[in-house]
Symmetry: C2
Subunit: 464 residues, 2 copies
């Protein structure tokens, strides 16, 4: 009887201490969200980045300007340490506005087209060739050089709309753009045009990087989904007049340029050499302002540290906001960050990347997510995050910029911020990725969600 | 030993049967989502409603046109029964474009303003009076007739941005518009202007209904949040020149008009007299196209029935899609529907309202949600809805149109569809509530979420 009573008391004691922890955490999360929603600064910071600086492709004047401004911004917030990390980045330029024209006999129909990042230029006069439409890279093999050689390959596999999160559709359609041009070149194609990577039926070309690997380099461009539908329809008509395509691009790759990751840091009060990173990428494509991709991510990352200072939270571990350079066409900033962290013998607990747009938060994905980890983190933290509707804690990828830490710091947990994904690929890599398409509250909620998770990790670690 | 083995077998049997159920349900939900996302028709239907018909305020030609078109639409889908339900509705008209001007001596600053629905007109020449800014209806009492009489009361309490779901902020700020004008009239105010009900800082006036109750009727209008900030700033300057406001409106209430709820029905295979309703409202405010409010809701409701037919699901109970008339300024359609259901001795299991915009689904709220109910429904159905990220099953309101069923059918469960709420009040009741602000996939996911819940209720009931 007595033993049982003692056990009960012990249990009550544990319960009490857990409850106190949970209450402290719950109060802190409320403070974080209130600060973000009522006194948030990331929206106005993003406005500056988009409207006063604009596009920030690696190596461009915009990118350099954004580095200087970002450093000043974080210094202005009084973070404990703000510095630049040197990194050599590729310098690809688009050149003159591209021309893409469907040619059938005397009928010429211009279409919305943008060269793929990293692509080589066409001959100066442009290139005209017959078009062959493929749905997959595998078809290259099936058809062989006989059918491909001398033609313009048109990859036209659309997004699979059945995916609930659009990232899944992007992932499965992406090979056409990422490696399609190189693969087609191997079979003698003279150029590649790719259906824009989006489920949206509109007239914007979606650019994005391509990697030829060891294959010959041929001109490669994306055409809008409306243009792709038109071209496909014409091909399906099997007219006696062959369907050709004229493509003229003048992009080129210049020598690498010195650029920088921009890093802000709050010093930990307990663990001198332990780090938690939150970051996004400062560079963007050249067609617009890089608002959702990834102005929102870098502005949220700085906002996490600003919120901690504003609510008076002094972290146990060093917390870093990292504005990575060159995510879009080289990942050099992410590689450099990991290398330097290894060289400096830093211990990294976790890194959180926000690079899926500034939309309403839904949760986070964790790379090293054993069943026990997922069970534990959901048992401990889901209820804390639930009032903010950012409580989907699932297995999944971290992100491109933090990826290299996987090798240099095998014990790190890599985490992806997961906002609502429905609108991302409507504007992704298009002229439409502008400040006006970012919603203030959605952006702020995302910043608060990231701050909340970083706070919980800082307080309790990630051993579940 | 034998007994235990039997128990184990029984247990295994139950487990198996549960699993089979869950598998059937899971497969059906996947079918529903695939149909909505790949072959969905609600987006194109919404385009027609918004672009070919447009605004649909009760009693207007647009409303009548939308009734006829909606009936034809559902007939075209071959639902088992499609019919109109007569309902007399108020007929308020805005009249000429309103004029609202801040007047300080000779300086006249026009502001974005829209009369509130139901409001009376100003005198023909307009009305000019000194402005008094209040933050709450309570202040009317504190200040009393001495300070209010002869003035224009300016209710300027902003949205509380700390709410995570914006409906909370709308709810707590709403009294200023809903009953503020009548309350101010009681103290001798000559007109009321209200800060638009939104957290967004923009230059659109947000209209919406006001109800004078038994109080005198005075002109009432909403001004944009930017105009409200300007007016408030001028008042705070305490200049020697008094801050006045000129307001001219010419709205009027005409005699009631015969209109209709539009109802489509799939017959139940088992329960002749049992009904499950899914609905939204067909009427809209007059300033725009009523896209999110509530074109999306009615088009999703019809889509639920269309999906059932398309995937070959034959419901056990009668399933009704109801396009309610007159939600915005009278709720007459909702009242009529409940009265008729009572008169016809129909048994109603549940009614689901979709009237919070066509945004990404998050879940559903249930009015009669005991702790046992919430526990049960989450245990049984959360895992089924989780892959579609519409699994937040919480206590909360159903909606205005289905509300009257609470009295006529005390056993009914009233359910609100809960999409992401962040952008709703950016466009709610403004000239910006247009088709272009609806995202195709978000709309389709919402339709599939509603269809999924209706399917589960039809299969399993709601006894948890």
């Amino acid at each position: 009887m007595k033993l049982k009573a003692t056990a009960l008391c012990l249990l009550a004691g544990v319960g009490l201490s857990l409850q106190t922890h949970a209450q402290t955490d719950s109060l802190m999360l409320r403070k974080i969200f209130d600060e973000a929603l009522v006194k948030g600064e990331c929206y106005e910071n993003l406005r500056y980045l988009c409207k006063k600086i604009g596009s920030r492709l690696s190596g461009s004047a915009g990118a350099q300007k954004s580095v200087a401004w970002s450093k000043k911004l974080m210094e202005g917030y009084g973070f404990d340490k703000v510095y630049l990390q040197e990194v050599m980045v590729p310098h690809w330029v688009r050149g003159e506005k591209e021309q893409g024209i469907i040619v059938m006999g005397d009928t010429r129909t211009p279409v919305a087209m943008a060269a793929l990042g990293g692509s080589v230029a066409s001959p100066k006069a442009g290139i005209t060739a017959q078009v062959i439409e493929l749905q997959s890279l595998k078809e290259l093999e099936t058809l062989g050089e006989a059918r491909i050689k001398g033609k313009i390959v048109f990859f036209n596999r659309p997004f699979d709309e059945r995916f609930i999160e659009t990232g899944g559709a992007y992932g499965t359609a992406g090979d056409q753009r990422n490696v399609g041009p190189g693969a087609a070149a191997k079979y003698g194609a003279v150029a590649v045009i790719v259906r824009s990577l989006t489920a949206s039926l509109d007239n914007y070309p979606h650019t994005g990087g391509t990697n030829y690997g060891d294959n010959p380099k041929i001109p490669a461009a994306a055409i809008s989904t409306m243009a792709a539908n038109k071209l496909s329809m014409l091909l399906k008509q099997r007219s006696a007049i062959p369907v050709k395509f004229f493509l003229k691009t003048s992009c080129q790759t210049l020598p690498d340029v010195l650029s920088y990751n921009v890093i802000g840091e709050l010093k930990g009060t307990e663990n001198n050499n332990k780090y938690i990173t939150v970051g996004g990428h400062l560079d963007s494509w050249d067609l617009a302002e890089g608002a959702h991709d990834d102005g929102t991510g870098v502005m949220q990352s700085a906002e996490v540290l600003r919120i901690f200072k504003a609510v008076g939270y002094r972290p146990k571990n060093n917390i870093r906001a990292v504005f990575f350079m060159n995510e879009e066409n080289g990942h050099k900033g992410g590689i450099k960050y990991a290398e330097q962290a290894l060289k400096d013998k830093e211990e990294h607990i976790a890194a959180l990347e926000t690079d899926e747009g500034g939309f309403t938060p839904r949760g986070f994905s964790f790379e090293r997510a054993t069943p026990a980890f997922l069970k534990g983190i959901n048992q401990q933290w889901k209820a804390l995050l639930e009032p903010y509707e950012t409580d989907r804690l699932v297995a999944g990828g971290g992100g491109t910029d933090i990826g290299p830490l996987r090798q240099t710091h095998p014990n790190i947990q890599l985490i992806g911020f997961r906002p609502d994904s429905q609108r991302y690929f409507d504007i992704h890599h298009t002229p439409n990725d502008v400040f006006e398409n970012v919603n203030k509250r959605e952006l702020e909620l995302g910043a608060a969600a990231c701050a909340s998770l970083i706070y919980l990790i800082d307080q309790h670690g990630l051993s579940f």
